[in-house]
């Protein structure tokens, strides 16, 4: 075989160039820590990683929605707890008032106490988060409870019966509050109407009605605690989902990293191998260049 200077030189240049481009690639892998930066470097990994990243972004958004929902739910839960305490207080007063030993004067006092409790309940239940009234359903820009003598129990209801919900997952929605409508309407009738009845009966000094109302107030408390626990279970569900997302994000992130991040140990050993090859090529070529008959003429 005839080997000309051109063959030797071109082969050398080709090897050196290949080696250089590999070194450049390794350098960028090592300095950036990312192996697949552009689709052409590994189209399949690139596509997969981008789709996984979308899943991560989606879950992060769901997490944001959930923590937003949790903040509102917790405020709502607190308000409900307070109202429940108020209802229990009313029941205590009522039990006392219903006993025959209570005089008319005491009952009158009790009626004033009940009216006070009713007022504070209204302000508690008008709790808001930002400019959203939590118990107003989706009609959130209006106060759900307003004093109005013509309304049942003297408190008007501006809420609708669709509780606001959050987007917590694909096709998964969680109610983040209960509506005033739901809270008010128990088995025994409207909550505020029953409270108003208690107040009236105390004013009327009507022992019989007071006794019969005991049962109704019990039912109102039952209903309020059912509503509260419903919200509580929603809060638990949101917390649980948040944790689930946290775990699945870790898994997804490690998948993305496997697809696109540099394996440093591998890259380093590749780099060393390349360097040896490069140095060898240089050394050999500098010898080869001097192998010419020219020097002996």
């Amino acid at each position: 075989m005839r080997i000309t200077q051109n063959i030797i030189f071109n082969d050398f240049m080709r090897d050196i160039n290949r080696n250089r481009s590999q070194m450049a690639g390794l350098q960028s892998d090592l300095s950036s820590g990312i192996k697949v930066r552009l689709p052409s470097q590994d189209p399949v990994s690139f596509q997969r990683s981008r789709i996984l990243e979308e899943d991560i972004r989606k879950q992060e958004q769901y997490q944001k929605n959930i923590s937003n929902g949790l903040r509102q739910s917790r405020i709502a839960q607190e308000a409900l707890d307070e109202s429940l305490d108020s209802l229990i207080e009313i029941k205590r007063i009522l039990t006392q008032g219903a006993s025959d030993t209570s005089s008319e004067y005491i009952r009158e006092n009790m009626a004033r106490e009940v009216a006070g409790i009713r007022e504070s309940m209204v302000s508690t239940l008008n709790a808001s988060y930002g400019d959203r009234y939590l118990f107003a359903g989706t009609n959130a820009s209006e106060q759900p409870f307003r004093f109005d003598d013509s309304a049942p129990g003297g408190v008007a209801n501006a809420a609708n019966d669709t509780p606001p919900r959050i987007h917590a997952g694909d096709e998964t929605f969680i109610d983040m509050s209960v509506t005033a409508t739901d809270l008010r309407s128990g088995n025994a009738g409207d909550m505020f109407e029953i409270i108003a009845n208690v107040e009236q009966a105390l004013l009327d000094n009507d022992t019989e009605t007071l006794n019969s109302l005991l049962n109704d107030v019990g039912k109102v408390i039952d209903h309020a605690s059912i509503v509260t626990s419903k919200l509580g279970s929603n809060i638990n569900r949101m917390e649980f989902m948040y944790e689930q997302y946290e775990i699945s994000k870790v898994v997804l992130r490690s998948n993305v990293s496997e697809l696109v991040d540099t394996d440093f140990a591998n890259a380093f050993s590749d780099m060393q191998r390349n360097q040896v090859a490069f140095e060898a090529a240089m050394a050999v070529h500098s010898h080869m260049l001097h192998n010419s008959l020219l020097d002996y003429l």
């Binding site: 552009l38 944001k64 959130a140």
Partner: protein
């Protein structure tokens, strides 16, 4: 002595042309000359019969084919590289990201439909997505423009090369007729053909008088010393690129750099553009359909989110009423319910729905932005294989036609020796005659 001198000049020519592309080494072909003299055969020395040019024509032909394929792939690769950089980056913020951010914002809005800052943020994300779409669309247009210019440029190059080949044809036939082949012109011809074959698929035929005939797509372009001029035929609206001769004959050209530019211009880039436009159109129609069912904070009017009159990636824009007042973004499914985020939620839900050719919007966009890259990766592998194939052929040709300097140097010494010996013979003869003459004196 003259023979040795002549051989030395061929050798020196070989040495200085060792690195000239397309150069084929030459050898002096010698034949002894003798005559019958009585009963003896007496040698009369040596004659140069010819100077031979060493080159394997078959390898050249194989190379032409490979170079044509290489030129095609290389050009495609360059365009895909441009497309890749315009569609995907390593810094994030690509089309896929912008689309999810828009859906994120709708999801955010469903939590807080009354919050104005959330609404304004949503508008910001939407306009960033629109900018991105417009950006990619404009880049595609620019790449299309570049491909077109490349194709026209390539045609100009082809015409130049053909003209050169025509004049070479003339030189070759003239010198061929005198019986002394013009080696330099033949080498130049090889060099020009190499270049031409990178540009377009050609068929070549050599006539008996040594002149070369070139056909492109079966149409005779070059014969004898006449090259016909190829003209481009462009329709920028339908993205059509044709070639024809001055007399109107169409040339079905294929292969090489030219075909790559034309394919990009006619098919690939419009295809990318259609897919990008489809993304824009899907966004407009799907989001608008839901948006029209909802209500903003201020009134009970049903509105479009995007301007429904413009649906291409380059023109898509937010509906004017909404762009001017973020309160008009319809998050609520019921009129007057400020805390209702059902519509925003439904729009956010679109990200998980298969709304574009049976696929999710995001999967489709990821596919689109990585498409140039995956083409590029495939071409790179093919180019590597091709490179080594061409390299193999080049080595084969180099073995035949290449100049080995050591070989030439040793030949040089040989000729020098021959020259010296011949000179010595002359001086010996001179001495012999001197001796003879001194006898007489």
């Amino acid at each position: 002595m003259l023979n040795a001198e002549r051989s030395l000049s061929v050798t020196s020519n070989n040495i200085i042309n060792a690195d000239t592309p397309g150069y084929s080494r030459r050898r002096v072909e010698n034949a002894p000359v003798g005559m019958q003299l009585g009963s003896h055969q007496v040698g009369l020395g040596v004659n140069i019969t010819s100077i031979k040019r060493l080159r394997n024509e078959l390898t050249d032909m194989q190379m032409t084919q490979k170079r044509q394929e290489m030129g095609y792939m290389y050009e495609k690769m360059k365009t895909f590289e441009q497309l890749e950089t315009s569609m995907a980056s390593d810094s994030g913020g690509d089309l896929d990201m912008r689309i999810s951010r828009l859906f994120d914002s709708f999801s955010e809005l469903s939590n807080d439909p009354q919050d104005l800052s959330v609404r304004n943020h949503l508008l910001g994300e939407a306009s960033q997505l629109i900018d991105k779409l417009g950006d990619i669309s404009r880049n595609l247009d620019r790449t299309s423009e570049i491909s077109r210019q490349n194709a026209t440029g390539t045609i100009a190059q082809i015409n130049d090369l053909l003209e050169d080949l025509a004049s070479l044809n003339k030189a070759i036939t003239v010198s061929g007729a005198t019986g002394r082949p013009d080696h330099d012109s033949l080498d130049l011809q090889v060099q020009k053909l190499e270049k031409l074959s990178e540009l377009v698929d050609i068929e070549t035929m050599t006539a008996e008088n040594g002149s070369l005939e070139v056909r492109i797509g079966g149409v005779q372009i070059l014969s004898e010393d006449r090259a016909r001029i190829i003209l481009p035929d462009i329709n920028d609206i339908d993205k059509k690129f044709g070639l024809h001769l001055e007399n109107g004959t169409n040339i079905p050209a294929s292969g090489g750099k030219l075909a790559a530019s034309i394919e990009m211009y006619e098919e690939r880039i419009p295809d990318f553009k259609n897919r990008l436009d489809l993304i824009a159109e899907t966004l407009v129609t799907e989001i608008n359909t839901l948006h029209r069912q909802g209500f903003g904070l201020e009134d009970d009017q049903s509105r479009n989110f995007f301007d429904p009159n413009v649906t291409s990636a380059g023109t898509i824009r937010i509906d004017e009423a909404i762009a001017n007042n973020s309160q008009h973004i319809a998050a609520s499914s019921m009129d007057g319910e400020a805390g209702n985020g059902e519509i925003a939620m439904a729009i956010a839900q679109l990200r998980s729905e298969q709304i574009i050719e049976g696929r999710k919007l995001l999967d489709y966009s990821v596919d689109l932005i990585s498409n140039p890259g995956s083409n590029l990766a495939r071409l790179r592998t093919a180019v590597e294989t091709h490179k080594s194939e061409i390299r193999m052929l080049e080595v084969q040709q180099e073995q035949e036609a290449g100049v080995n300097i050591d070989e030439e140097l040793s030949l040089m010494i040989r000729y020098q020796n021959a020259y010296q010996s011949a000179a010595r013979v002359i001086s010996s003869a001179q001495q012999m005659y001197d001796t003879l003459i001194s006898l007489v004196r």
